[in-house]
Amino acid sequence: MKINDVILRAAAKIVVFIILTFAVYLFFSGHDGPGGGFVGGLMLGSALVLLLLAFDIETITRGLPIDLKIVAAVGALIVVGTGAAALIFDKPFLNMSSFKLHLPIFNQVKISTMTLFEAGVALAVFGVVVTIITSISKDV
């Protein structure tokens, strides 16, 4: 099945970057506005899904030389790890903390361990979604 999808491919090349940017934005804005780790991860995944639809899987996997199962595993590890890290500071498991930093350009930036936790969630979601989609479509 080889259909002429020049328009889709041309559009995808640009749109993917918009989606990726939006995904990153969503992820970071999650702290104070709509967004967060789960949506951010899903958005990253959907960018890849678009690429998969526009191009074939071999091209994408060649261009993305990361094992997505490992990405998912790393995500899950970060999630548990941030929880366990609280234990080192003699705090209850999964205790989160945040503080504000004054940086030259960004002015006030909030640093929170919750962001790290959410990053783990994002990576796990991203890895799992893309793993499932690629393995299902690759098999047949």
Binding site: G36, S46, K69, A76, F117, I136
Partner: protein
Amino acid sequence: MIPIFLIIATPFIAAFLILISRNTIAKNYLGWFVLAFPLILFASLCTYIPSISKGKNFIETVQWIPSFDLYLSAYADGLSLLFGLLITGIGSLVILYSIYYMKSEQSLHVFYIYLLLFMGAMLGVVFSDHMLVLYTFWELTSVTSFLLIAFWYHRKRSRYGALKSMLITVFGGIGMLVAFLMIHQVTGTFSIRETIEQVNILQNHPLFVPVMLLLLFGAFTKSAQFPFHIWLPDAMEAPTPVSSYLHSATMVKAGIFLVARFTPLFGGSTLWFWIITVTGMVTMLWGSFIAIRQRDLKALLAYSTVSQLGLIMSLLGIGSYALHTGNIGLTGFSGTALFAALFHLINHSTFKGSLFMVVGIVDSTVGTRDLKRLGGLYIMMPITFVITLISSFSMAGLPPFNGFLSKEMFFTEVLKVNELSIFSLETWGIFLPVIAVAASVMTFVYSMIIVFQTFLGKHQPDLLNQKAKEAPIGMLIAPALLAIIIILIFIWPNVLGDYIIYPALLSIMPSAPQMNPLTISVWHGWTPELFMTFAVILLGILITAFLSVWKKIYRLLPDGLTIDALYQKILSSLEHIAGSSTRLYMTGYTTDYLVYVYVSFALLISPMLFVQGGFQIDFSRDAPLELFEVIMTAVMITSAIGIVLSRTRLTSVIFNGVLGYSISFFFVLFRAPDLALTQLVVETVTTALFLASFYFLPSLKIENTTKKKRVSKLLIATATGTIFTITALAVKSFVQFDSISSFFEDSVQLSGGENIVNAILGDFRAFDTMLEAIVLFIAGLGVYVLIKVTGHRRENR
């Protein structure tokens, strides 16, 4: 002295070290590296001896979840120290032996990892004070011994033996767990020491007998007591060092340990006395009887272990009378039976460990363990012969070896117990010496078989796979050391008695300090015990001489009526029942599974909710309906009907997508941007996923079902839909508690995030999110494995 926690943890740490450094340590040095750990442990346990022999006990506790009465505790007293020394001491020798025995093994590091894990689990069992921790380690010994027995997993017999041992011991372990939970119910503590302090409460409680029976169930399955002994002979399929370790010093001794540990709690009760004594006696008799019949040297040793464990068990049973209230002064109690049990425990570890190693040497040098093919090896293997001679004669209870001492003590006890006037011993007690002598005669016979049929008699080199020659010196070190220990214990038994056994006895019998110090004497005069030994030797020689006549007895045994056959039958019928009952409802059709879910929902749950008044519908607090909401609802209903009526999968997937996107509209409408966003992305990704997978499925086929089936499906669908609707309405109207939203009012201060949804997800209920992420990961891995692995299999076919 290093902390006991560290002692328990060391084998696990060592196992981990081997795991990560398996490629950097050369195979030749791996064993020596491993050997260091039990040696260090043994040495550090020895530093505990001086203070423990003075009556000092050590307890270390780390809180875990105090509100659930969960904590980790390590407890070192005389009893646990005795076992700890055996585990690490024999463990060192076994590893030393395996360095030479397992030389050609490919996955050597796996073997050592299993062995160390097992050692750690055993140490955990003996040093735990918290019952649930003890239980965890107990089952860990079952699992790790499973791995060890099945080490040569390509052999069918190994897998069978491993499975059998695990099934039986884990089954017993579960019984033990129930006993522990019952004890906690009665006494309110999981600590063994505290439970023993509350002994009176438990003894007068109706749960006393069930607790005792369940606990003994665990102990008897682990220690291979009759009729659970059937797993032990099959466990000999393990590599010989493992058999030597499992059968002599560790696994099977765990049951003995448990009985000894709980003797202060149950000792003195009639039931405890009789169950343990009788089970031990029967096991001893039966094990020794069957052992003579074996042709395989290792099988013979396995049955002899069964028999010896029975002996130790019966001594523990006999000794428990001493705790019978009111009889301590009366019978002139001195705890000698318990002392003898512990003494024989150590002796058994020495001679049985050495014998297994010797059998391993014979097996690996001549290539067979079959007694029919062996014989006359003493010329070629003189050192092995001497070691075997010492160990076997010790097992037979002959001087000048340590087995003689504990056997004489055993005879003393069975004679003495007859004179008691409790537990109706004055009538039934007479059987004890008779059984003791009978079992000892047979023990003598199989001990002689090991020596004479292997090393003396006619040498038949053409029956052997390899030419017989003396084993390499390294392989001989460990059994030779054990043989030397056997003699040393005979010469200075009281060193062991005073510093190791007596403190252990004190921890079984806390009320015993006033008793006279025990001395083990080699020569105790022309006593009845000595004449019993003479009788044993005489009868033993007689049977050994006419062994072919004696073996005719075994032909009288029915073939099909064994406990092993019963086990097989139970196992296969269980498999059969499970299989057929699963096939009954697992039809392989999604429709059927959905029907189960919906029917149970409609028929089981909803009437219950109706009866309990769960359905209360209240429209009074509803917001007014907007036009836009009505339109969106109409769209959703239409697309839902569209899914059902569509004729191709593509159409239904698209309708499903419409449904999902309209839900996100509702989220926008009700000002939940987070949910709307998530819903939109999820919908996009799942639609793509559906398309990816449905594209390749065959087109939907129109079902040609009977009218009856259609009606029933219609009924189920209607009922389920109605109940779902009512439930949804009822849930909305159900206000029993205040809203929890006030809890999140100061979420910005608490979590630092201004988006409340993410503050909840990432902070307040982060545990849920964490586990969800892990579930997602596992699910993804599952999908991957299902698709990839079956794909591979298809390619390989």
